[in-house]
């Protein structure tokens, strides 16, 4: 019964989001904290080091951690105010169950009783419809220990193939592209390689707002002489003072990369020796880009031809360089092609695997890297292993002490899980660290699917928008209430340290999961006593895989401020070693378990692969009816679906509600002025928000940030088109139209963050 139990406004009244400001002990100017806990921010993939001030069982503030080398004390506003999620009035302190008779729609219940009810419902559904009738949605903001446990829990305990995670909305296009080109999915270089590069190319990455600390690396590169090229439909703060701004039409990145490679080949700005000795597949790619003349590239991308020529010349003639991209090119129904296009211009330049010659995707979530390595993806097993590979299955079956045949085959992506719910194939859902009602495209469809579930259990610390549909919500843990590792933006495995205990009946997520396993009578393999014990098993499970953690220990992480994987415990001859970790991938002469010495890339021949990166327009292109491109993204003060950041008062006050960004030329034709209400409409739905009229966006494009819910969510509008390989949704381009509007009804009933 996953319909909302009562009117949503009533649920909001009780469970928020409400705003927390500095309160209690944190307002006391004379207070001395009991301790400072060195840990990391709970939000983005940069995982800035931070010290949390702890008094009693409260986090009351922060102190910069200047010794941590990646950010040296720097923090964005989310990091500064993150502590306000602790002791929050909306915090779930007890398990709750759906109760239409209760004014809030939910009634409290004992945690153990709730866990037993969850187990009973799972058993009921599985005996009625089969094991695959239960789906699991997990997340990449979890520690790697939890992510590993979730993959094992779904396959071994629930025996369902249907687990996937919210990294499906985030890292998968980069992941597939990197695996196809390099055989391994990780940022190739440390961020220190940005400083000293001659050219820094940033495609589809609002660095200043989504990865703020990276800004200083980019600016420092420029101080040392780098030219900064930014490709974006908007002049974001990182684009404002860049050296070359390419105002690309959303969804046309593969075309730009093809056009640049065309000019590189034409002008012999390529490294023929590297291409010949270190790569395969160049000829086919060269053949494909022949048609991508500057004129055609300009026509398709909406970028003036001289700027394309200038970019190709700067990129082509540089001696060192760093290319990075993010969701701007990846959130596309051809996201993998966009990624491969960018890798092609890196490989053609020969500038990779050396100091100041780098390539990376900018990871989104806290554990966007580690969360995609150890088996919570639908087709993956720990260590970056493949679920359809018999050898990989056999190895993991041995670690898990199960028969290989018991491990289910590949499942489906997160959106397809919802389609399966829609078709009645999945009847029960367990979610942890995922708020799909806000974060998935075409959220109206997601809501209709949730309403079809027979049973839905959510684990969360706040009642997020999706969990409002749950039959039972188990009170989970905040990041600062548990320990474990995450892999940050550079592939550096770092340690999250516990600062306070879970309040009330809230419990560490891994304990809740193990509690369900026990209540199901399937506790074998789920009797870990600590995150460290899970990590020790994960080390073994990852050993010999591409993402090899076997040589990483909690102690080594602390000693050297993180350890970059691969970090094997044995050398190629099987002798124990004390490996320091691999800071930079693809260095000449390096060994990996796939190439076995044949070359530095993770293929049997040790070579990097060029792939034809074909351009095709967005799935839903503009037409007379819907003449504008809608693109979505983030603002600096909010994070993802806002479950945490829409509850932190100072962050909400910084940018309270989403606005529709549009160019003055467009606004003039629509008769809209800055601050007017406007309705953006697509074939899915419409939202009415205030207009922000700015000359920093293409006139054929509008932008709406996606962190809000309900009537304000940009994802009511977005299209559920997906990349055929990565299955990432197309958040960055769909067709829409805009008209002037009057004040919407929600203004009188909802606070800005609700």
């Amino acid at each position: 019964m996953a319909t909302l139990p009562v009117d949503e406004l009533k649920i909001i009244d009780f469970f928020g989001p409400h705003l927390a400001f500095m309160h209690g002990q944190s307002t006391d100017t004379a207070i001395v904290p009991d301790k400072l806990v060195k840990t990391h921010c709970c939000f983005c993939g940069q995982q800035c080091g931070i010290q949390l001030k702890v008094k009693g069982n409260d986090v009351i503030g922060f102190e910069p951690w200047e010794e941590f080398p990646f950010n040296r004390g720097m923090l964005c506003p989310k990091g500064v105010k993150r502590y306000l999620q602790g002791a929050h009035p909306d915090r779930l302190l007890k398990a709750i169950r759906r109760d239409p008779q209760s004014p809030s729609g939910f009634s409290p219940m004992g945690r153990q009783e709730a866990i037993e009810k969850v187990a009973a419902e799972i058993q009921r559904i599985q005996s009625a419809y089969g094991n695959g009738a239960i789906g699991v949605l997990s997340g990449a903001s979890l520690t790697t220990e939890k992510a590993y446990l979730m993959g094992k829990f779904a396959r071994v305990c629930l025996k369902t193939p249907f687990i996937d995670y919210n990294g499906r909305l985030c890292m998968v296009s980069a992941g597939v592209g990197n695996k196809k080109a390099f055989g391994v999915d990780r940022a190739a270089n440390p961020w220190s390689d940005i400083v000293g590069a001659e050219v820094v190319w940033i495609s589809g990455a609002n660095v200043a707002e989504c990865a703020p600390i990276t800004t200083n690396y980019v600016w420092q590169a420029r101080e040392m002489g780098a030219k900064i090229i930014v490709v974006d439909p908007r002049i974001t703060p990182i684009a404002r003072t860049c050296d070359l701004f390419l105002p690309i039409k959303p969804g046309r990145d593969a075309a730009l990369f093809a056009g640049v490679l065309h000019l590189m080949i034409e002008n012999k700005w390529i490294d023929g020796d590297f291409i010949e000795k270190q790569t395969v597949g160049f000829d086919k790619v060269a053949e494909y880009v022949k048609e991508w003349t500057p004129t055609k590239t300009a026509e398709i991308t909406g970028i003036a031809e001289p700027l394309i020529r200038k970019a190709a010349e700067w990129w082509g003639t540089a001696k060192t360089s760093f290319l990075m991209h993010a969701r701007g090119i990846e959130h596309s129904s051809h996201g993998v092609q966009n990624v491969l296009g960018s890798i092609n211009i890196v490989l053609a330049s020969g500038r990779i695997g050396r100091k100041n010659c780098g390539y990376a995707t900018i990871t989104g979530q806290a554990n966007g890297q580690g969360g995609r390595e150890h088996g919570q993806k639908c087709d993956q097993l720990p260590g970056g292993r493949d679920i359809f590979n018999p050898e990989h299955r056999a190895y993991i079956a041995k670690v898990w002490d199960v028969d290989e045949k018991e491990i289910p085959g590949p499942g489906v992506d997160a959106y397809e899980i919802f389609r399966k719910i829609d078709r009645g194939e999945i009847k029960g859902l367990l979610s942890l660290c995922f708020n799909p009602k806000v974060s998935l495209p075409d959220s109206g469809f997601v809501q209709r699917c949730l309403e079809k579930l027979e049973f839905y259990v959510a684990i969360d610390f706040f009642l997020n928008e999706t969990a409002r549909h749950a039959d039972i919500v188990l009170p989970g843990s905040l990041q600062e209430e548990d320990e474990g590792v995450v892999a940050q933006i550079e592939g550096r495995v770092i340690k999250i340290n516990k600062a306070v205990d879970c309040p009330g009946e809230a419990q560490e997520d891994w304990k809740l999961i193990q509690g369900i396993a026990k209540a199901l009578g399937r506790e074998k393999g789920f009797t870990f006593q600590s995150p460290r014990e899970i990590f020790e098993e994960l080390r073994i499970a990852s050993k010999g895989g591409v993402c090899d953690y076997s040589g990483i220990t909690y102690e080594k992480i602390e000693k050297q401020f993180g350890v970059c994987w691969p970090c094997p415990s044995e050398d190629p001859q099987g002798r124990p070693i004390d490996h320091p970790g691999t800071v930079r991938l693809f260095e000449p002469g390096t060994w990996n378990p796939i190439a076995k010495g044949a070359g530095p890339y993770y293929f049997p021949d040790g070579k990097a692969h060029f792939n034809v990166a074909a351009y095709s327009p967005p799935t839903e292109d503009v037409d007379a009816e819907y003449p504008l491109i809608l693109t979505t993204g983030r603002v600096v003060s909010q994070f993802l679906s806002g479950t945490q950041t829409r509850r932190i008062g100072p962050l909400v006050n910084q940018y309270a509600e989403p606005r529709i960004e549009m160019h003055p030329q467009l606004a003039a034709t629509l008769g809209i002025k800055d601050g007017d209400w406007a309705t953006a409409e697509t074939r899915r739905s419409s939202v009415t928000l205030k207009a922000q009229v700015v000359a920093t966006i293409r006139p054929d494009t509008i932008f709406i940030p996606y962190h809000w819910s309900g009537a304000k969510t940009a994802n009511r509008l977005t299209i559920a088109a997906q990349d055929p390989l990565s299955k990432i949704p197309e958040y960055k381009a769909c067709a829409c139209r805009v008209k002037k509007a009057s004040e919407p009804a929600y203004v009188k009933t909802l606070e800005p963050q609700q």
Binding site: S26, T29, P77, G79, V80, A208, E209, N216, V636, A695
Partner: protein
């Protein structure tokens, strides 16, 4: 203790990304909890994402102190101009109106002028100010002249500002470009391949600063 004499505050608005980390961190200070003392403004959001962080410039001869009828604004020996002293401040707003940089603000609830004191609780103990520590773009930088010279070869610090007839010398330094600036101010300009040169005129920073910058010192 005093602020170490070799440690200086440098502001480079060209680096600023408007993230407000400085504002949010300032409001965490133990001495003025919940109230930020730093101002971060868009210059003109309709045409640019340019923002400018404004902290107290800590003038050698502080105008705010000169115009204070109650002698409430004091400067420490190490050159930090402090917030108004509560027992003396009469909340007359003279300082608010007179400061050429627009820094002091009247806190109506407290009936007291408050402003940035360069995190004196931190800097006098050898730590960096909170805003400069957290600033993700390092538009706010705290360190030595040797460090700034090594890290910022494209710009140079100035600390003399002319306001009409008044020349103001400050403890805090502003980074200005050594060369000219090219700015794209409108996406349509870049779409059509034209990236017109634009000179930015801000009343705050008068011609003297730009003249010095143009000499390429």
């Amino acid at each position: 203790m005093a602020v170490p004499s070799n440690q200086h505050f440098f502001i480079d608005p060209s680096r600023c990304i408007g993230c407000q980390s400085c504002v949010q961190a300032c409001s965490e200070c133990d001495t003025h909890k919940g109230t930020p003392m730093i101002h971060l403004e868009y210059v003109e959001r309709s045409i640019s994402t340019q923002t400018t962080p404004v902290i107290c410039m800590h003038c050698e001869s502080p105008t705010c102190a000169q115009v204070c009828p109650a002698d409430a604004i004091k400067k420490t020996e190490d050159g930090v101009v402090q917030s108004a002293r509560k027992p003396r401040c009469i909340a007359c707003n003279n300082c608010v109106l007179a400061c050429p940089f627009g820094v002091p603000k009247m806190n109506a609830g407290w009936e007291l002028m408050t402003k940035c004191d360069m995190c004196y609780d931190r800097t006098s103990e050898g730590k960096k100010p909170m805003c400069a520590t957290v600033c993700p773009s390092q538009a706010l930088f705290f360190g030595t002249f040797a460090e700034i010279e090594a890290l910022r070869p494209r710009s140079r610090p100035v600390n003399e500002f002319r306001f009409g007839e008044q020349l103001v010398k400050t403890k805090v330094l502003m980074m200005v470009p050594r060369g000219g600036l090219t700015e794209v101010v409108d996406v349509t300009a870049a779409m059509h391949g034209a990236t017109p040169q634009r000179t930015v005129h801000l009343d705050l920073m008068m011609s003297g600063v730009f003249a010095n910058a143009a000499e390429g010192k």
